[in-house]
Subunit: 491 residues, 2 copies
Amino acid sequence: MADTKDYGKPAHARDAREVSHWDSETDVVIVGLGGAGCCAALEARAAGAEVIALERAWKGGGTSAQASGQLYLGGGTALQKACGFEDDPEEMFKYLVASCGPGADEEKIRVFCERSAEHYDWMIGQGVPFKETFLPVEIGTDPYGDDGLSYTGSELAWPFREIAKPAPRGHTAQQEGENAGQLMMDLLLANVERAGVTVLTDALCEPLIMDADGAVVGVVATVGGEEKCIRARRGVILTAGGYIHNKAMLDRYAPVTRRARFRLGCDGDDGRGIRMGMGAGGDAIRMEAACIVVPFSRNRQFVKGVLVNRAGQRFCSEDLYQSLLGEIGMWREDGRVWLVLDDALYEQPQLPTEIAAVGETFEELEREAGVFPPGSLTHTLETYNANAARGEDPLFHKESRWLQPLSKPPFVVLDLTLEKYPFWSAFTLGGLHTLPTGEAIDPDGDVIPGLYAAGRNASGLPAHGYNSGLSLADATFSGRLAGTAAAKRRG
Amino acid sequence: MADTKDYGKPAHARDAREVSHWDSETDVVIVGLGGAGCCAALEARAAGAEVIALERAWKGGGTSAQASGQLYLGGGTALQKACGFEDDPEEMFKYLVASCGPGADEEKIRVFCERSAEHYDWMIGQGVPFKETFLPVEIGTDPYGDDGLSYTGSELAWPFREIAKPAPRGHTAQQEGENAGQLMMDLLLANVERAGVTVLTDALCEPLIMDADGAVVGVVATVGGEEKCIRARRGVILTAGGYIHNKAMLDRYAPVTRRARFRLGCDGDDGRGIRMGMGAGGDAIRMEAACIVVPFSRNRQFVKGVLVNRAGQRFCSEDLYQSLLGEIGMWREDGRVWLVLDDALYEQPQLPTEIAAVGETFEELEREAGVFPPGSLTHTLETYNANAARGEDPLFHKESRWLQPLSKPPFVVLDLTLEKYPFWSAFTLGGLHTLPTGEAIDPDGDVIPGLYAAGRNASGLPAHGYNSGLSLADATFSGRLAGTAAAKRRG
């Protein structure tokens, strides 16, 4: 087992010739039983393979079970239709390419969009419930209800609404509150057991085992304090999550992401699966990519507020989804962002952060805040108000439904800077380079026989730019494809 | 030899056991005879090693010979002292860490700052002339004169002037015009010949040769149409330049950099050295990093102009060095940047780009331009003028010497957008991971015996953030260290 100081490094595969005894043998071994792992296991079983799934925690679920149970799906799903929305794979493709780039994998996005409606049906088939109701854009998700469909991206925001026909694509499993991911994972885990997958928990894997021809033929797992060598006749699927809890990897690959203090992920998100894959010749790509969120708009009233940077300027539209805002705020504005509200918008419960200033006039507000260049905030707000009164936002084209002059004093500046607001949240999106099938490839682009990766062990749909629900959708979908591909391989 | 379609991939090392005949043998082989290669060759010879240098072009020089001959040096060089400037390694270190991050290699920066004055003396010892005159900040470099010392970074700009005590650190070889790099390289190449280095030109190398223990023991070179295997008893030093001319690598690693249309580099900058190193187990890091320049301020009058983004806002201080501006303009502003001047600043020769608008008033200018939100440009200029009249820039703290209201009509907007202004220039900064000694390391951090990299084949001093002259200084300095280290290795 690697020392802590080696946590940034590849976990080199063991030579199969050094394995004196195989403790178990199966067709497909799955490393990590979160969203990707469960779906991989189910599809591998469905394709007739014997499956062993290894989970380092005492039970499966992983980060998917901590999530809000949102799946970013579209292209005309049954839920979209039931709620009266039109969508098609081409519009979804155009939107995702625009919002997940530059550097997004268009081939993966294409396959995902074409099969997205089918993936929804598959989830229904797994017993995951979705309520056939649409959560209106204006209401938002605070508190979480149990509506099935909502906007969880920037589809309605400029310029995206001009690039692709908008449709709501957030499909949330039905449960009151914001932990529908737990519900979804409980259902999937039960199905995994029922399908006859052998599940071993408290099983920490590392490293992979390779034969002399460079094929992955198994994995070393520590189970109950003992090292076991488990042979995989057809393949090993790495589905062990991202690396947001691995500081050595963040330092090495994603120094900007490391600045976000709220790290989204279960304890196991230490990048071990990625490092195991690298140690078997896999290529880790887009490792700098991350979902970065500045949570401020779950109470949708706040979208009617005004976000400003350290120059007292607006820097983007407030109706961009908060997972895109976070990236802009971190990369472009250095984490220095404030939200201005008036008394009509300010309501309890307030955002859990400091009030930087209160004032009866914009001038007083600006003076109180003491961080903006003289006159800058006042001008920004006066200009914003004058345009909002006409229903216009010539700077960033915020949708007219959110445009309302800040006219009721007192005015308030909420401090959302990285220093003061601890809820800047992040998880990593980089991982092993895979084909859309889930087959892991080396830096030459050659398939590593017997090695698959899915979920956050792989670089998936998003590169720079994220939409809520995309990681869970990508994880479950890519897990399915990898499970099928591994089961069908003749090793 | 790799096919064009494989240009994005590692060039795998050949197994020494497959080499039936060594055509030549020496202590140290150098691949690429630009700035890094020449300095490596000279220091390897000085340490007593026999050296063969292989250059793919008909003569050495590489991209260094196309450069302006600026070396970013400091910490109290003889030239700084002669011109009356104080500097010390600690202030230089603080500045470089701030301007080359996040993700910059602090250990390399430390070594560089401590030995920077000595590196200047070494260059003098090589016969490279530097005129002991300082080019005043206000004059700039259009046309190029032959002054030795100038500011080539953002040392005087905010916030850097508060982070570290500013000093001019651009040391330019003495020659009228902007091609002092050619002079420097001609001198170094002559010294290389004189030192008894065996130089083979028209020699295209690929791949490296490794023995069964994983040590690099030579290189395959095609010379005069024939493949030669050249044995290196002590080591091979890769100094073959960056990859700005390799579109497959740009797509893979640096999709943002690829947008810059003016690619700075000689024909040989196809990343071959980096790919050879990767093919011997080397780790390529910070591959997304690049120097991106929007050249607009060689005529320093233009620093008194106002740069605006598509929202008609200023987005940074105009006195940031143009190689930092380029990064901000590309990464933060999507390449959409305009420069506003008044008739007092507008002079011939003008920047070679389109005039987006001319107007007798700011309102007319904004209307003519037709790209800014109504009122935005007018407000930006009015605010700028009011503050400039008081010698202040509360937004971005531009130095007072550059602050002058735009008050003499007609006013003009110059179009510097990526679409219209073809001079957005770039070269790559990512490369093989090396220790400060130049020893190449693998993803585990283990040294690959016999393999060294320097110059743009390595990831050197700058990560995100560049200062003019840093690449040439880094190349020549890192080349020297690698040459010494390779010569002293006992293979």
